[in-house]
């Protein structure tokens, strides 16, 4: 018997093709809940005049190395906090501590991306509202982080020279959403069969308006331009 209306249709006790069922038009965003929290995060950051950057890239592209250098260069000029996401370990937080900003590790364990609620939980316990710049280092992954808004103001994609020229074409969703693409490890260019102009063309095919910054955290190339970009709305 149907537990809802008491009729005797269908073969199962509870679930069956039920003649009383209703079709309901929803037209509702699947990520509505995440977007709602992200919206609140965005307003918190805006109210506190914080510039918030979501760094996304494949694992090993040099996000943490870029941030080490960034904190060394900007740490005494700006109030910077960094949230670093990884499935496990606090290795990245350990690397960044003492370099010139406040740092906290988020471990997602099974999850392949950060979501807005993970950032919301840090408002109060870690994010004080006094930061001028908050950098969120997302999980190293070129697919999943692109789908989840965190409340950030700027999406930054990193692309290392060792990854080849066509990563933006292979993973277009993430590169399309980024306002800036930072090319890392430029110091390795002499040792690679890698073409800067071809890479830039590929990025522009996916995202014609993206700003492209060529960097090496090792030699310092492009680091001033990158730091100026982080600070430009904070000056």
């Amino acid at each position: 018997m149907c537990q809802d209306c008491g009729c005797h249709e269908g073969g199962k006790d509870y679930f069956h093709d039920h003649e009383h069922s209703q079709s309901i038009e929803l037209e509702k965003s699947i990520l509505e809940h995440n977007d709602h929290i992200a919206h609140h995060n965005w307003h918190y950051f805006d109210d506190h005049k914080m510039e918030v950057f979501n760094l996304m890239s494949s694992p090993g592209s040099g996000k943490t190395r870029l941030l080490e250098k960034t904190l060394q260069m900007l740490g005494d000029k700006k109030k910077i906090s960094v949230l670093v996401g990884d499935q496990q370990t606090d290795n990245d937080a350990q690397r960044l501590m003492g370099k010139g900003g406040r740092v906290k590790q988020i471990n997602t364990y099974s999850s392949c991306h950060l979501d807005a609620s993970m950032i919301e939980k840090e408002i109060g316990p870690f994010i004080t509202g006094e930061e001028e710049i908050l950098i969120i280092e997302n999980i190293g992954n070129l697919v999943c982080p692109a789908s989840f808004e965190l409340g950030e103001k700027h999406k930054v994609a990193l692309l290392s020279t060792t990854e080849g020229e066509d990563k933006p074409n292979k993973y277009p969703v993430l590169f399309h959403k980024a306002s800036v693409v930072v090319i890392t490890k430029s110091d390795l260019i002499p040792y690679l069969e890698w073409d800067l102009e071809k890479t830039k063309q590929n990025i522009r095919m996916i995202n014609p308006n993206a700003r492209i910054i060529l960097t090496s955290a090792k030699t310092g190339e492009g680091m001033s331009e990158w730091c100026d970009y982080l600070c430009q709305k904070n000056s």
Partner: protein, 113 residues
């Protein structure tokens, strides 16, 4: 594999609607998933039976409409549907294009009782 998070978001949204509107069971859900949404249909179908266990959506039939990428050119006003994602008009070659469809990630409708 963020499709499990996507499945959970669908379940949470729909269970809330069921609670508010006094539905006891959902028999069918239709989703619109754009090719540029970053969500894989096959991965979502794979995790769906497990994600819906012991929810109001258990054994619910999942229908996924795949929405292709459509670009509208702001220069020549023509539309194109490239197979591979590229922000470029197939007709005049302009990069000044707007994504008209392909970003969808929504719950279209449901059958409930």
């Amino acid at each position: 594999m963020h499709e499990l998070s996507i499945a959970r978001s669908v379940i949470n949204s729909v269970e809330k609607i069921c609670h508010d509107d006094h539905f006891g069971k959902v028999s069918e859900i239709t989703l619109d998933i754009g090719t540029m949404s970053g969500v894989s249909k096959s991965a979502l179908l794979f995790c769906w039976p497990l994600a819906t266990k012991q929810t109001l959506l258990e054994e619910c039939h999942l229908v996924i409409n795949e929405i292709p990428l459509t670009l509208e050119c702001l220069a020549c006003n023509l539309k194109s549907s490239p197979e591979v994602f590229i922000m470029c008009c197939e007709h005049c070659g302009s990069g000044q294009v707007r994504i008209e469809t392909g970003n969808e990630l929504k719950i279209k409708n449901m059958e409930a009782y």
